[in-house]
């Protein structure tokens, strides 16, 4: 009897096991099928992966207004996955989203995940088939966009943009922007974070700044070439400009060591396609791609930097980057010069002035750290599970136009901002000097999800109130404008195969570049090793790397 009971128990267990096992395997397939099934069940064929069929006008969905507000007559609810920055309130309580819902009649159910947790959560969401209608500020990199577009999880939207997104369509008339957003199959699968061309403060956000008082004390004017820069740093180190008898001045404080090189690249004529391409630019004479880290001029930059380091002119902190310490030191006024978005970061506005361009030993005067107008590619994506793609496209397009920017960055007039007599947009005191003691980010983060960045939208001079929008930053960028590279390339968009090369070989190469850069500058690797260093790149597969790079930038050459 006991034996029988036991065998029965075992048999039941086995059956259970097999059901679960096959259940699991079915589930993952079903999960995959479900997401594409949703796409196919949609009457709006716009959700099909290829987006080719059924975008004829006769398929205009009911309950949808192609123009004007509200976007839908009967309210609908969309589920969005978004990243909640630490200074944000709950998004459902934010003024921006409440106001916009009134305008559009679309209710958003926000699934919020914080920075620390977002990578894992996103991976699970993508892999398990439980897709939201869209991802907003989800910190996707461009390789993610390509990958998930390829897998049919992200919706192709270029046709929809043409039809229903007037604001974005206008911006897409710029070929560089369009190319930066278009995947190999000719489709656009995401919505970007853009900077307007004239927002100089933002496009050359990181700049060199000099301590004004110390320049005066030492009787020096701003350096106009790299020799004078070296002389100035030396004078700061030896001259005790803060007059306290201690040599505690830090002549030059980059926040990390790569910044030193980035500052100097332009003075040696390297990096002529902008800051989205730190390691590869174009040799103007031959018209071919040039690999910067093995170029003889790059070696000169490293030698110059090594000289600066040996004489104690570069902040040691650069080798163990630590933002908190960098800011804490800055707040004590210890920097003779620094590279960054501005003295506002250290509460030292007025004590620092922006630098002019420095000419290098070969007569080059270029400002390499200039960004393209595309700051991010995947800031908003519509998934193929979305049943209202037209409405969603209209929903996001608002934020690429003036009204949307105003709402998103500034909020509501009279409640969060006012317009000064000069026509400037300023935050009200309740934001700038919050009565509850919230700092600026936290105060702004109560009404909008703008703090922390990563959002889909357009950064403009008019409405962006961050450091890069401040007068001293804009003025500094204006000084550098004549030296911006002639052509600024958007970041590369790699295909899935190319992505793999970049994340395997490319990753090894990147590691070697940054590791060696730090070692050469610090003196841990002597320059006698230069040839050996160059030779290593070939061993790593530099050929393949450059081949992929060439393929990815092919379209940019044609322009």
């Amino acid at each position: 009897m006991k034996k029988l009971k036991r065998s029965l128990a075992l048999v039941t267990a086995f059956i259970l096991v097999f059901t679960l096992m096959s259940g699991c395997s079915d589930k993952s397939e079903v999960g995959g099928e479900e997401s594409s099934a949703n796409g196919q069940n949609n009457e709006n064929a716009g959700s099909d992966k290829n987006g080719e069929e059924g975008t004829a006008d006769s398929d205009l969905p009911d309950n949808f207004n192609a123009q004007g507000f509200p976007i839908v007559d009967e309210p609908i609810t969309l589920k969005f996955f978004a990243r909640k920055f630490v200074s944000h309130a709950d998004w459902k309580d934010m003024l921006v989203w409440k106001e916009y819902e009134k305008l559009t009649n679309i209710h958003i159910e926000w699934e919020l995940v914080s920075d620390e947790n977002i990578t894992e959560r996103r991976n699970v969401v993508m892999a398990s088939g439980d897709l939201p209608d869209a991802f907003h500020t989800a910190l996707f990199g461009s390789s993610h966009i390509v990958k998930y577009a390829d897998e049919g999880l992200f919706l192709r939207v270029d046709d929809l943009i043409e039809k229903y997104a007037p604001n974005l369509s206008t911006i897409l008339q710029d070929p560089m922007v369009k190319m930066g957003l278009t995947l190999e199959d000719g489709g656009i699968y995401s919505f970007p974070n853009l900077v307007e061309e004239d927002a100089l403060g933002l496009r050359a956000g990181g700049k060199l700044w000099y301590n004004t008082a110390w320049l005066k004390t030492l009787g020096k004017s701003q350096p106009i070439n790299t020799d004078e820069f070296y002389q100035l740093l030396k004078a700061i180190k030896e001259g005790d400009p803060n007059g306290n008898g201690k040599a505690d001045e830090i002549p030059f404080a980059p926040q990390d060591i790569a910044t030193v090189v980035n500052l100097l690249k332009g003075s040696w004529g390297l990096g002529n396609r902008g800051s989205s391409h730190p390691y590869v630019d174009v040799n103007e004479e031959s018209g071919e791609l040039r690999f910067i880290p093995t170029d003889p001029r790059y070696k000169e930059i490293l030698e110059y930097s090594n000289m600066l380091y040996k004489e104690g002119l570069i902040d040691e902190l650069a080798f163990t980057p630590d933002w908190s310490k960098h800011v804490a030191q800055g707040q004590e006024g210890l920097y003779g010069s620094f590279f960054g978005i501005g003295p506002i970061l250290f509460n030292q506005v007025g004590n620092y002035e922006s630098a002019s361009i420095m000419e290098g030993p070969h007569g080059d005067k270029m400002w390499y750290p200039t960004g393209s107008t595309i700051w991010g590619i995947g800031n908003f994506v519509i998934t193929t599970s979305n049943k209202y793609p037209e409405a969603t496209v209209r929903w996001i397009d608002y934020f690429y136009g003036e009204d949307g920017c105003k709402l998103f960055f500034m909020g509501k007039e009279g409640e969060t901002f006012e317009v000064t007599p000069e026509g400037e947009y300023e935050f009200l005191d309740v934001i700038k000097n919050n009565p509850d003691g919230l700092n600026l980010d936290q105060a702004v983060g109560q009404f909008t999800s703008q703090p922390g960045g990563g959002y889909p939208g357009l950064l403009t001079n008019k409405f962006f109130k961050g450091a890069e929008g401040r007068p001293e930053s804009i003025e500094g960028s204006k000084k550098l404008l004549p030296y911006f590279p002639k052509e600024i390339w958007p970041p590369n968009l790699y295909t899935v195969e190319q992505s793999e090369v970049m994340s395997s070989i490319g990753n090894d190469i990147n590691t070697y570049i940054t590791e060696s850069m730090a070692k050469f500058i610090r003196g841990d690797m002597p320059f006698s090793e230069w040839d050996n260093y160059v030779a290593q790149f070939d061993k790593m597969g530099l050929n393949q790397y450059l081949k992929v790079y060439k393929e990815a930038t092919e379209k940019l050459f044609k322009e």
Binding site: S114, F140, W323, V327, G454
Partner: protein, 304 residues
């Protein structure tokens, strides 16, 4: 027990005790100083801490950090949740681990090697996050408290430790004798094994409770309702560190350096206070459990 013997101890033993004491005090100092630092840093001025001026005593004494931490309503919510998860979870853990460890400790259990290997294999090989997530989803546990308690119900490592304890500290002869007397296996477990195992049970409670207290990963994966978030998840939001550094360096997502740096400075000023607040309950737990580390009932008394 050693107390009674103190008077009778030899000189050699007294020397031993003194040296032992000295070494222990040395260890205490080495361990204590950084802990002391955490405490004084938690009510010092953040800038002074970062710039390395805080050594002996706090500088710029203020309780701003603690005020801010407690002002965060979510901290209290996280605390409540974590206490619930810890108590419930540890209970489940304990039951499952005992159910596993006891049979495995019996050398007369046929197939014991196979079962042990079956369990140990899972310490190395697993399907990974996504398939596990799908199982949990299938069982409809996502976004529930059970997703935090059931998939982590057993730690093979702990099973092994408990099994080792059972087989070394409780003589098999005792159990054999009980079996001959007609005692059932279950009764042996309840009446003999468990009462003699208070030390290992105390250890397991500690291990599992601390595990639950510090847990966050499953919460990230399975919970979407904010009001279910455990304490560590809330803390991770405040102490932004990893992710944002990487974002700023990778520069692909258009992040706003200024606001991130500003929040990092806030985090810097809070981090020590947050740690103190988050760890205190666990630090109190140990002294409470510590008295169980002494064997409860004399072996001899049971032999009757």
């Amino acid at each position: 027990m050693a107390d009674k013997k103190w008077a009778r101890q030899s000189r050699g033993d007294k020397i031993f005790d003194s040296v032992n004491l000295l070494l222990i005090i040395l260890v205490l100092i080495i361990i204590l100083y950084p802990l002391y630092f955490v405490i004084i840093a938690s009510f010092s001025n953040a800038q002074d801490v970062v710039n390395g001026r805080v050594f002996i005593g706090p500088i710029g004494v203020n309780f701003e950090a603690y005020k801010k931490v407690f002002a965060h309503d979510d901290i209290m919510m996280g605390y409540r949740n974590t206490i619930l998860y810890t108590i419930l979870g540890t209970t489940i853990n304990l039951i499952m681990t005992i159910l596993a460890a006891y049979p495995l400790s019996r050398k007369d259990l046929k197939g014991r090697g196979i079962i042990m290997a079956f369990l140990a294999f899972t310490m190395f090989f697993g399907g990974g996050l996504i398939p596990t997530y799908l199982v949990v989803k299938r069982l409809q546990m996502t976004n529930t408290i059970w997703a935090l308690l059931i998939p982590s119900a057993i730690s093979t490592y702990n099973v092994v430790i408990m099994r080792t304890y059972f087989s070394t500290s409780i003589p098999y002869e005792l159990q054999e004798a009980a079996l001959i007397d007609g005692c059932s296996n279950t009764k042996i477990l309840l009446k003999i094994i468990l009462p003699l195992s208070t030390p290992i049970i105390a250890v397991m409670v500690l291990f599992y409770a601390v595990g639950h207290w510090n847990a966050y990963f499953n919460a990230i994966i399975y919970l979407t309702d904010r009001d279910k978030f455990p304490l560590q998840l809330i803390i991770r939001e405040i102490l932004i560190q990893n992710q944002t550094e990487k974002l700023m360096q990778s520069g692909t997502a258009g992040v706003d350096i200024e606001s991130i740096v500003r929040q990092q400075m806030v985090a810097e000023s809070l981090k020590y206070a947050v740690i103190v607040v988050a760890s205190l309950p666990m630090l109190i737990l140990y002294p409470i459990l510590q008295k169980y580390f002494v064997k409860g009932i004399m072996l001899g008394a049971l032999k009757g």
